[in-house]
């Protein structure tokens, strides 16, 4: 990986019957009921019990990912563009997101305990300055210094976090000390 680079990060939050927290509970409940409602289009006789079965029998049911996603849009909006539970290494700055997508992982029209969704949050473009161990060194979204040095933050790599887009920056910015990390 070349530095510096412009990247976006995506974080996948799994929400299922075991999830706790107000946001997670609302998403779980509302996405399950919306699944029950919207899936009737593809399953009018209720002959398919799980989403996995339904996808095989009626491939158009893949539209349920985004149709169910609409049902939790206001809950996601209340997050204020901050990815829940993901902060920088100082545990101070939440990682921002710009867009989100709901993915139905599994569901069952008779057993809500089997219902599981993921919300995939994607950040705005971030400037990656380097990688040290398991930590990404990123330019802070808001720069406050006039000294020529960047305000930065560090983010730990974690299982549900992925680099979802990458673009090498052609020109080396005046990074002072940060440039030595290459």
């Amino acid at each position: 990986m070349m530095y510096p680079a412009q990247i976006t990060l995506s974080f996948k939050q799994l929400i299922n019957a075991a999830s706790t927290g107000d946001f997670e509970t609302k998403v779980f409940e509302d996405s399950y009921i919306e699944f029950l409602m919207q899936s009737q289009v593809y399953n009018p006789d209720r002959q398919y019990r799980t989403f996995s079965e339904l996808k095989v029998a009626a491939p158009k049911s893949n539209s349920l990912h985004y149709k169910v996603g609409f049902a939790v849009g206001l809950h996601v909006q209340e997050l204020g563009n901050r990815i829940p539970g993901v902060k920088d290494c100082l545990n101070r700055m939440p990682l921002p997101f710009e867009i989100y997508q709901l993915e139905l992982i599994e569901s069952d029209i008779q057993d809500r305990q089997q219902h599981e969704v993921a919300i995939i949050y994607t950040t705005p473009a971030l400037t990656l300055l380097g990688l040290t161990g398991d930590r990404l060194l990123l330019a802070a979204p808001e720069q406050t210094s006039n000294s020529g040095a960047y305000d930065t933050f560090m983010l730990s790599l974690q299982p549900q976090l992925s680099v979802s887009s990458y673009k090498a920056l052609q020109h080396e910015p005046a990074l002072n000390g940060v440039a030595q990390l290459h």
């Binding site: 409940e29 509302d30 009921i33 409602m37 009737q40 985004y66 609409f70 049902a71 206001l74 996601v76």
Partner: protein, 237 residues
Amino acid sequence: MERKNFLRSLAVTAISAPVLLEACKKDATTPGATAAGTAAAEAACVLTDPDMDGPYPLYNSRGSAINRVNITDGKPGVPLNIDIKVQSVSRGCAPVTNARVDIWQCDKDGYYSGYVNNGYLGVQNNVGRLFGRGLQYTNSAGQVHFASIYPGWYPGRCAHLHVQIFIGTSLVLTSQIAFPDAINAAVYRTPLYAAHGQNPTTNYLDSIIRDSLATELATVTRNTSGGYDLTHVINIR
């Protein structure tokens, strides 16, 4: 409470009685807990009442990003007021209150939100976008209102809206709403739509809708604001 609900509540009580008795033994020192449990059981019976006209009490689309009147999301187009009335045939065409009405439509160029689609302007990735989609619950007159734009067209289809009606959590109707051909032609001559030209698929040439025009063709009239007013009645069982 209707008779069958009353009978159902008796059945629930009969099934629950041994459980509640057992609970009494365990909570002998905390009588309040028993009362709370009984109240919760009664509340649960009310919440799951299938005879209610309205939305499932536990769910009113509270978190839905498309629970809104204005569905344009700033998309340009000729303004379109959409007024839909839902009636029940089995109740002498009485208005149906608290029915959830979902609608979705394409933009002026024939593109839908929500997914990647191909049209006369090329491929558009509209994942994560919501334009042209809304839901509302019918009022006491059985009516919902949306503010939208006149839909464009895409090959093979006449101008149309999609509509679904839910009672509680049950889907009772999936349908479409067509527009008069003459009005389509007039709108598609206006500046915002002219680049795409006229739609060769009129209502009669649309294989999906031509056999349903008796019930799916809306009344559309020009209004004094330069837009159009669409009114349509949907009859459900």
